[in-house]
């Protein structure tokens, strides 16, 4: 094992070395920093050219210059890491240290959402292969797969930000729109559940009625101006998450499973008002953590109290239900700051921004408030997150669908059915678990790709992350800055590959690492 790891690490170093050598020379030979002097008529032009040649060591051939750059990187081994200076004489490492957190903030939510929705929808389409839902989702994922992200981004800016902000001036949804939205909602839900024609129609009807009722309420109460989930919304979402968690872990026909899941959901609903005390105006991240840990311990507690055998299964139900159901409580708290946030001078009744990563005009008190500044960040994240989620979601749908279909055709699935296991057990235990195996590789690699992966999105939404650094590096012929971005993305990619291989050996016992 140790030999394998060290051999892989050595190989990683060689690959990163080779790739960076290639990239360095490609950049050095394809850029011409001296071109800025092409039409210059300044008197000291010759002096300036000489100075630049000296500063950038342009008289040294790039393949040799590469090694002086490499020396700074290798020096990282004894803690003397040096990526050189950018053209504006700032250490590259400082620029990157500022940019990386911004990019991570931008892409992390989108990646999680895309993974969760993509995998679950992909697996549902595989289970209901050749159903209406499958056809619609297949077409939809192909469409999303074919969309250029910058185009989606401009559309989102127009329809989700500018027109939505206009709509907020008089937030009234017309009756016709309510009917159409309700019917679409009904169709989506019916697509999930499937079933015979009569079932299908009744699900459409009830879901549409439900959505219609909610929209009418939203309309009557001017919900968009002071949004909140309230105790009813929180309870409802908690029950939904309980259903999903129970179905995945034990199945809804397990009595103890139902007791733990729904018990946790109801306990969280009861805790809704007491927990508000924890989330006062001067709260911080720690309070949010406290809310989560209280709810999770309640969930686990219920699991322990109910069960004597198989305790860990019921604890898991409690834990996951509590974890998911806490999100609505936190979101609800943020939402209730919306009305004050929206009418403040900095926002001026146009809450959804099209550009930037934070509102610069917020007052110091607003910035101090965890809830207001958090809401501000969340609103700035809406559009880029939506765009990124839509684009990467399609890939996960296709991949998890294909993966689950392949597994469901395996002999061991037939064996599982033949020995009389319930359909749920066959699909969740034998199907989904095995279908997740190849997904681990993709997931790990995607997380590594996050840092360099949002160059276009950052450009469209004017975020100052790795994308804008990279853009600047190319346009200014900034070799050190370019190599900084490059070495980070390259190293992360190689490292993620390595981790993925190790992880695969852990999750899939069939794959053993060669000694």
């Amino acid at each position: 094992m140790l030999a394998y790891i060290s051999r892989r690490l050595g190989m990683m170093l060689i690959i990163v070395f080779g790739a960076s050598f290639l990239a360095y020379n490609l950049q050095a030979y394809s850029s011409d920093p001296l071109s800025v002097f092409g039409e210059s008529t300044e008197k000291n032009k010759d002096y300036l050219i000489a100075a630049m040649i000296r500063d950038l060591q342009l008289d040294v051939p790039p393949p040799i210059r590469y090694f002086s750059w490499l020396r700074g990187i290798v020096a990282g081994l004894w803690g003397d890491f040096d990526m050189g200076l950018s053209r504006s004489n700032v250490p590259v490492i400082e620029i990157l240290a500022m940019a990386i957190p911004v990019t991570i903030k931008l892409v992390i939510t989108a990646t999680f959402l895309a993974i969760i929705f993509g995998i679950s929808i992909g697996m549902i389409t595989a289970i209901r292969q050749y159903s209406r839902f499958d056809y619609v989702m297949t077409f939809f994922s192909f469409l999303l797969f074919s969309l250029p992200i910058f185009w989606v981004a401009v559309l989102l800016k127009e329809f989700m930000a500018i027109q939505f902000n206009d709509f907020l001036a008089d937030p009234r949804i017309s009756f016709g729109t309510i009917v159409i939205i309700s019917l679409i909602f009904g169709l989506i839900i019916a697509g999930f559940t499937g079933g015979s024609r009569a079932q299908f129609l009744s699900v459409i009807g009830s879901a549409a009625l439900f959505a219609g009722a909610i929209l009418t309420y939203v309309n009557a109460s001017q919900w968009f101006l002071k949004p909140a989930l309230g105790i009813f919304g929180v309870t409802f979402l908690a029950l939904i998450s309980a259903i999903i968690v129970i179905q995945l872990i034990t199945g809804l026909d397990s009595k103890k499973g139902r007791v733990v899941g729904f018990g946790t959901a109801i306990a969280i609903a009861i805790l809704y008002y007491p927990l508000q005390a924890l989330m006062s105006a001067d709260a911080s991240v720690l309070n949010v953590f406290a809310v989560f840990s209280i709810n999770i311990s309640v969930g686990i507690g219920i699991g322990i109290a109910v069960s004597k055998i198989d305790r860990r299964v019921y604890m898991r139900i409690g834990l996951f239900t509590a974890f998911i159901a806490t999100f609505p409580i936190i979101i609800d708290r943020f939402m209730r700051e919306f009305s004050t946030y929206m009418i403040s001078d900095a926002v001026n009744n146009r809450p959804i921004p099209t550009l930037g990563q934070a509102n610069d005009l917020l007052s110091p008190e607003q910035l101090d408030s965890f809830w207001i500044s958090g809401l501000d960040t969340a609103l700035h994240l809406i559009l880029p997150t939506l765009a990124l989620t839509l684009i990467s979601f399609a890939g996960y749908v296709r991949f998890s669908r294909g993966s689950l279909l392949e597994v469901l055709n395996m002999d061991y699935i037939r064996t599982a059915r033949a020995k009389g296991l319930s359909e749920r057990t066959v699909i969740v235990r034998h199907g989904m678990r095995n279908a997740m195996l190849p997904l681990t590789t993709i997931l790990v690699n995607d997380f590594a790709g996050l840092i360099g992966g949002a160059i276009i999105t950052e450009g469209v939404f004017a975020w100052k992350g790795m994308g804008s650094v990279f853009n600047e590096a190319i346009r200014n012929y900034d070799l050190n800055l370019f190599m900084g971005v490059f070495i980070i993305t390259a190293f992360l990619t190689v490292f993620a590959n390595f981790i993925a291989d190790l992880l695969y050996g852990v999750v899939d016992p069939r794959i053993r690492i060669r000694k």
């Binding site: 394809s30 250029p148 185009w151």
Partner: protein, 377 residues
């Protein structure tokens, strides 16, 4: 693989003919009919083509894509060879991207003074007064009066050219490297795969921007060729894996025993069997290439003005979206349709070459089957 597919196909047709026969036997027909019937064998290629033709979305996409390509290239015309001289075929559209028609733009005003609205009107006469018409500027004009139809067609032509060149180069290089690595194995494999990894760790967009920023103004063909040199890695890996398994097969041993050279084994024996993987990965490469080109042009690292590409058009006109949205819709719609068609064709090809993801027996079907059995028994 070839054998097993044929077997399953013939088995299914046997079952079908059996079912037919059951109904036929009621009319008391010759019992030996099946035995007497001549079995029609199908070649591997015929099976694949048949499966692909059955895939409606893929066939529809194939025709749409061919139509788009012919439409776009015939509208702008073609020029092969140097700028002055060489082969030049004029397009059928009356404007070029350099023609400016300010009067026409003003004549096509709409929405209270916005100039250059599209004159295309697809609503037939019974829906509005003037019926279907194309007008002088079907896609409208931009602010200074350049015909937008000419711009979009030219942009689409450039984007498609990049897509095809990148795809062709990527497939050629990827197949060559993958085949050599997979067939010879050992040291050759190790060196080639580490080389592939070196290219692979570099995000395409990063290298693409670098190349595009420097060489984008040299024209679209050199840009595409340079991009193609950085687009082969994924395909090389697929081909290598395929070659690794295929070279262990008996027919390769047989060829070797018969004295075939390495070259002959690679080209005549293994490559035809790996063609499925190559074609499917190649189509994916194509849709990736057009999205990458438009993204690079959008960022300003691809095709430069005065030439146009679909991505460049979007980046130029995105700010006028609220005033003249058609300047934004048309190029986007073309990118999406081309990429969507290519993706669907790829899906159809994958199903045709590798039917592993074909229907598994769903719960519904099993219930139906059980019901059916109950009725009979």
């Amino acid at each position: 693989m070839a054998l097993s597919i044929q077997e399953s196909e013939s088995e299914s047709s046997r079952i079908m003919s059996k079912q037919n026969n059951e109904s036929v036997s009621l009319v008391e027909k010759d019992e030996n009919e099946i035995a007497n019937r001549e079995t029609v064998g199908r070649s591997q290629r015929q099976i694949i083509i048949k499966r692909f033709v059955k895939h409606k979305a893929a066939m529809g996409s194939l025709f749409t894509l061919i139509f788009i390509v012919i439409f776009v290239f015939s509208a702008t015309g073609l020029r092969l060879g140097p700028k002055n001289g060489g082969l030049s075929i004029p397009g059928w559209w009356k404007y070029s991207i350099t023609d400016i028609d300010p009067e026409g733009a003003i004549a096509a005003s709409c929405n209270g003074g916005v100039t250059g609205c599209p004159t295309l009107d697809l609503a037939p006469a019974f829906m509005d007064d003037d019926g279907i018409r194309f007008g002088d500027h079907p896609f409208g004009t931009d602010i200074i009066g350049t015909d937008y139809f000419a711009l979009v067609m030219r942009g689409a032509q450039q984007s498609i050219t990049v897509m095809l060149i990148v795809g062709l180069l990527g497939v050629t290089i990827g197949t060559t490297i993958g085949a050599i690595a997979g067939y010879f194995g050992g040291m050759v494999d190790a060196v080639l795969m580490r080389l592939t990894d070196m290219f692979l760790v570099t995000p395409t967009i990063i290298i693409g921007s670098l190349i595009g920023f420097r060489y984008g103004n040299f024209g679209v063909v050199p840009l595409a060729i340079l991009l193609g040199f950085f687009a082969w890695m994924g395909l090389a890996r697929f081909v290598r894996t395929e070659f690794l398994t295929l070279r262990e097969r008996e027919f390769v041993d047989a060829a070797r025993v018969a004295g075939a050279s390495d070259r002959r084994i690679i080209f005549k024996h293994i490559l035809p069997n790996a063609i499925g993987v190559i074609i499917v990965a190649g189509t994916l490469l194509l849709s990736g290439a057009i999205l990458a080109e438009t993204a690079l042009s959008y960022l300003g690292f691809g095709v430069r003005p005065p030439d146009v590409s679909l991505g460049l058009l979007i980046s130029q006109y995105q700010d006028t979206f609220s005033i003249s949205p058609w300047l934004f819709w048309w190029p986007g719609a073309l990118i999406v349709s081309i990429a969507l068609c290519v993706n669907f064709i790829g899906d159809g090809l994958r199903d045709a070459f590798d039917p592993r993801q074909r229907r598994h027996v769903s719960v519904k079907d099993r219930l139906k089957a059980a019901e059916h059995k109950g009725q009979r028994g």
